[in-house]
């Protein structure tokens, strides 16, 4: 019961939520950017190549740091203030890592659509 008295080891709740949801947050931002940029460029009559370039850049910008955070999971945890001494940090690392992997998959999957489909073309 001694741990009940060590409040100083407890990470901030905002940092913990951000750490756990890091992957999905980046995935959500990526979807927002690619969908928003593509819609905007097409609606304003921009060149499809502009849309494709933005989408490729957004996918790379989302993918690389997230992949790095998976490779350096513990270091990422410390960055969010979840130190090695924090209770259950391994559980939180595992949850964050798996969500990042899932999100990487989602980002890559959306990114693949760019390769297969032309920007601004109507499907029907």
């Amino acid at each position: 019961m001694a741990e009940l008295h060590h409040a100083e080891r407890e990470p901030s709740v905002v940092a913990m939520l951000a750490y756990l949801m890091l992957g999905p947050l980046v995935w959500g931002l990526h979807l927002l950017v690619v969908y928003g940029a593509h819609t905007l460029v097409c609606a304003l009559g921009g060149a499809p190549s502009v849309s494709t370039t933005i989408l490729l850049a957004a996918t790379a910008v989302a993918f690389v740091p997230l992949a790095l955070s998976v490779l350096l999971q513990r270091r990422t945890g410390r960055l969010f203030g979840i130190g090695d001494e924090a209770d259950d940090h391994r559980v939180y690392d595992a949850i964050s890592r798996t969500l990042c992997l899932l999100s990487l998959f989602g980002i890559a999957w959306s990114g693949i659509a760019m390769v297969a489909l032309s920007s601004c073309a109507q499907g029907r």
Binding site: M1, E3, L4, H5, H6, A7, R9, E10, P11, V13, M16, L20, M21, P24, L25, W27, G28, L31, V34, Y35, H38, T39, L40, C42, A43, L44, S51, L55, D87, D88, V91, Y92, A94, I95, T98, L99, L102, S103, F105, G106, W109, S110, I112, A113, M114, A116, L117, S118, S119, C120, A121, Q122, G123, R124
Partner: protein, 845 residues
């Protein structure tokens, strides 16, 4: 003996402790039962109410299936059929599914966390009364030819005044908008409850999966529901005042409704499913007698599903002419969501397989197995309709009807029936019948599949949704007859359940049948109206399995808070991550204000629907007055100072600032408000994107002089500074400092002036909200600012009144802190609005 010496409190405890707990937590009797706020009473009533709506909507389904049993049937008229399918869908989604899972949160969550109650008991009671009254009136419209006819998604232009001139659509818009407020109230309660009222030692990593799922569920509600609340506001304002948000020839767009509706509507499916999955994750380990395999993966799946579900809304709009690449993004996300859902299914199967003993087959586990089968089929057809070409082929056919019933009935109704049979012994002094339960399962399982599986085929051969009848020669006759027979079989299953309930369910707020399943989680601890005798110290995810003496120790009062040190209703507030005790929360008991507030708020919305404005306003005033009476008694002040709860832990009985639960609740409410405003900003830019050539339309007045928005900005920033100063100048207890309320009042006046100045600025240029969608959007920003501004003014007035009454000082300051927090948010919202409304058009042209 050594282990016992480490327990937080010594035994034996005085008998008077239990007697005092029973007295404090006693449930009102007779007609005063409506004033009860205990989560057990409110939770059972809430579940009961949701189940009644399920039965009522089920009867409507039977009427529809009767109509469709044979071709060219005239059992129901076309118009009544339209009303019935709209009320069926709306009731199932808004009055049954979401309230049912929220009700289970109210009922089960405090028990699983061994908390004496949720942190805002009157808020839960308010939510259910609002829901009962609003829901009942909405449902009854079907008997008076007043029910909406636009389907549960109420697409414009069909629901615009031109095509739906009667009040029917308004009942949907105002009724459902109001019920969503009730759902949001419940979600705030659940978030704060799950994060702040866990027992000492129950860190996030030890939290029961159901608590995780309810946390994710409530988080989804506060982000998703505001989008549809905004949509209903826009549509109702267009219908009532002619602001053309959805009228294409005035620059509006009916597709804006679809975007807003489905940004809520798709997550809604997971809002319903995830808590049900959480329930399954609690039942499976008990029946397998093995801890859940892949606890972390299930948490991943819950969070992942929640996020992905917000990236799928466009898959309901694949047929609306969106560019193919955008379809690709949403098709990818729609398929990706199957992965976290699949993780859960495999985890449950692995848990069943991992048990050393054979998986127990009884009614709850049969319903779980039925859920696994039906939900998996629904998930597979979901992946099919995520593929754009397949979606185009089956769009608006009975294939989609089959798909979503497999997902929703499989994913929610079957786990709910498993829940009824599994947790009935916790809430009832007698168990439900195992023999009747098996009849219920088999009738429902076979009936469901006989009814809905053929609909895949009916859809594939071309039968569209929502048709009231069909010609004889299209080859649909046999399949429709089979579906109708299945529907009646399903209904007989539900009827047997109702009989079982009537024969065997005996609600008991004072505890049920012990732990008949030998489960490992805390809701099976013995207890009374006060929940558990003492609040356990938890060291694992299945405390009753891993701490074999826990039941006895808790019952002997040897864990935390064995008595009532403040002499009132209270529970322990713990830290959000590691669950370290932080303070004692003092909670209100039974009372009338929340009942009166809910009933009259329902009256306000419903009378407004039938255009009885004056009676509606009277109801609104009574409701607000009741809320003020309710809130007046909540801030007790520091009271007697810190109390010992056990293990040498002394905690305060009063808390302000970011640690306090009321600050958390206000913060969550601000997330709701900001979600609503973000949905508005999206709508503004969406309408610009679809018709940039008419934004603003040629001939529109120029924007107001920049001095006006600048003055508004200065007013709100100055007002924020004034509020801040008011907080710093609050006097010490027992003293007076008149500058504090003066600064608070200045803050309120500044905010109100800024909102008025902004609206007047546009009006003075000649811009009118009815002229075109641009004008409507500009005034809508002011309307949303007026809403939040009005709330700030009321809260500031409340804080001033408490100062005058000697109940506000620099220690006892909850009412001020809440007002200030909302005020700072309002300032941010208004500044963002000024940038969008005044800045964007200047950049765009």
């Amino acid at each position: 003996m050594e282990q016992e010496a480490k327990l937080p409190n010594e035994a034996p405890r005085p008998e008077s402790e239990t007697e005092e707990l029973e007295r404090i937590w006693a449930t009102p009797t007779g007609f005063r039962i409506v004033t009860a706020v205990n989560n057990t009473v409110v939770g059972i009533a809430y579940v009961g109410g949701a189940f009644v709506f399920f039965l009522a909507a089920g009867v409507l389904a039977l009427l529809m299936r009767t109509q469709l049993a044979v071709p060219e049937n005239d059992f129901l008229s076309q118009d009544l059929y339209n009303q019935i399918f709209t009320v069926h869908g709306t009731t199932m989604m808004f009055l049954f599914a979401v309230p049912a899972v929220e009700a289970l949160g109210v009922l089960l969550l405090p028990q699983m966390l061994a908390a004496r109650d949720l942190p805002f008991p009157r808020l839960s009671a308010f939510a259910i009364w609002a829901y009962f009254v609003g829901g009942t009136v909405f449902f009854l419209t079907v008997f008076f030819d007043l029910a909406p006819k636009g389907g549960w998604f109420m697409y414009p232009p069909l629901t615009l005044l031109e095509f739906s001139p009667e009040n029917n659509a308004d009942f949907w818009l105002l009724g459902i908008g109001f019920i969503e407020i009730s759902a949001i109230a419940g979600a705030i309660e659940i978030i704060v409850g799950a994060l702040r009222t866990r027992p000492p030692g129950m860190s996030l990593a030890r939290m029961p999966i159901f608590a995780w799922s309810m946390l994710v569920f409530a988080g989804m509600i506060i982000v998703a529901f505001p989008a549809v609340i905004l949509a209903t506001m826009l549509l109702e304002i267009e219908r009532a005042f002619g602001w053309p948000f959805f009228t294409a020839d005035k620059g509006g767009d009916p597709l804006l409704w679809q975007h807003l509706f489905w940004f809520f509507g798709h997550p809604e499916v997971y809002i319903i499913f995830l808590p049900a999955a959480g329930l399954v994750s609690m039942i499976v380990p008990t029946m397998a007698r093995h801890p859940l395999v892949g606890y972390r993966l299930i948490v991943v799946a819950l969070i992942g599903t929640a996020f992905f579900s917000f990236g799928l809304w466009v898959h309901h709009m694949f047929a609306t002419g969106i560019p193919s690449l955008s379809l690709g993004f949403f098709s990818a996300a729609s398929m990706a969501v199957a992965i976290p859902s699949g993780i859960q299914v495999f985890s449950w199967i692995a848990t069943i397989a991992a048990g050393k003993e054979r998986f127990r087959i009884n009614t709850p586990s049969l319903f779980v197995l039925g859920f696994l089968f039906i939900f998996t089929v629904g998930g597979l057809t979901g992946v099919m309709v995520a593929l754009v070409p397949v979606d185009w082929q089956v769009h608006d056919t009975y294939f989609v009807v089959a798909h979503f019933h497999y997902v929703l009935v499989g994913g929610m109704v079957f786990p709910l029936f498993a829940t009824f049979y599994y947790w009935a012994p916790m809430a009832s002094s007698t168990m439900l019948s195992e023999r009747l339960g098996r009849w219920v399962f088999w009738l429902m399982f076979l009936g469901f599949n006989v009814s809905f599986f053929p609909m895949h085929l009916t859809g594939l051969i071309g039968m569209p949704r929502r048709v009231w009848t069909y010609p004889d020669d299209l080859g649909w006759n046999g399949l429709n007859m089979i579906s109708t027979v299945g529907a009646y079989m399903l209904a007989v299953g539900v009827l047997v359940f109702v009989i079982d309930l009537a024969l065997h369910f005996r609600p008991s707020a004072a505890g049920g049948k012990g732990n008949p399943w030998d489960a490992g989680t805390l809701e099976w601890l013995p207890g009374g109206v006060y929940s558990t005798r003492s609040i356990p110290y938890v060291t694992s995810r299945e405390p009753l399995w891993d701490q074999p003496n826990l039941t006895r120790e808790v019952e002997e009062g040897r864990h935390f808070l064995p008595g009532a040190p403040t002499g009132g209703r209270e529970t322990i507030v713990t830290s959000p991550i590691d669950a370290r005790p932080q303070y004692i929360i003092r909670m209100p008991g039974p009372g009338w204000p929340q009942v009166v507030a809910a009933v009259f708020m329902a009256g306000f919305f419903l009378l407004l629907t039938v255009k009885l404005v004056v009676p509606a306003l009277i109801c609104g005033v009574i409701s607000v007055a009741s809320c003020i009476v309710w809130a007046w008694g909540l801030d007790h002040g520091p009271g007697t100072g810190p109390v010992d709860i056990g293990a040498g832990v002394k905690v305060p009985t009063y808390m302000t600032g970011p640690t306090s639960h009321s600050w958390w609740a206000m913060f969550v409410l601000i997330i709701v408000a900001s979600s609503l405003y973000i949905a508005y900003v999206f709508s503004y830019f969406y309408l610009w994107v679809v018709s940039p050539d008419v934004w603003a339309p040629e001939g529109s007045p120029a924007l107001p002089d920049p001095v006006l928005p600048l003055a508004s900005a200065l007013l709100v920033v100055g007002g924020a500074a004034s509020m801040f100063a008011g907080g710093r100048l609050l006097p010490a207890p027992g003293t007076r400092r008149v500058l504090a309320p003066v600064f608070i009042a200045i803050g309120a006046v500044c905010l109100a002036s800024a909102v008025a100045l902004e609206a007047w600025g546009h009006w003075s240029t000649g811009l009118r909200p009815t002229a075109n969608a641009y004008g409507a959007m500009v005034y809508m920003a002011s309307f949303l600012n007026l809403q939040v501004g009005l709330a700030c003014v009321v809260l500031a007035g409340f804080a001033i009144a408490r100062y005058v009454a000697g109940k506000l000082d620099n220690v006892r300051r909850l009412s001020f802190d809440n007002a200030a927090l909302l005020y700072y948010y309002a300032v941010a919202q208004i500044l963002l609005g000024l940038v969008v409304i005044h800045g964007f058009p200047r950049i765009a042209y």
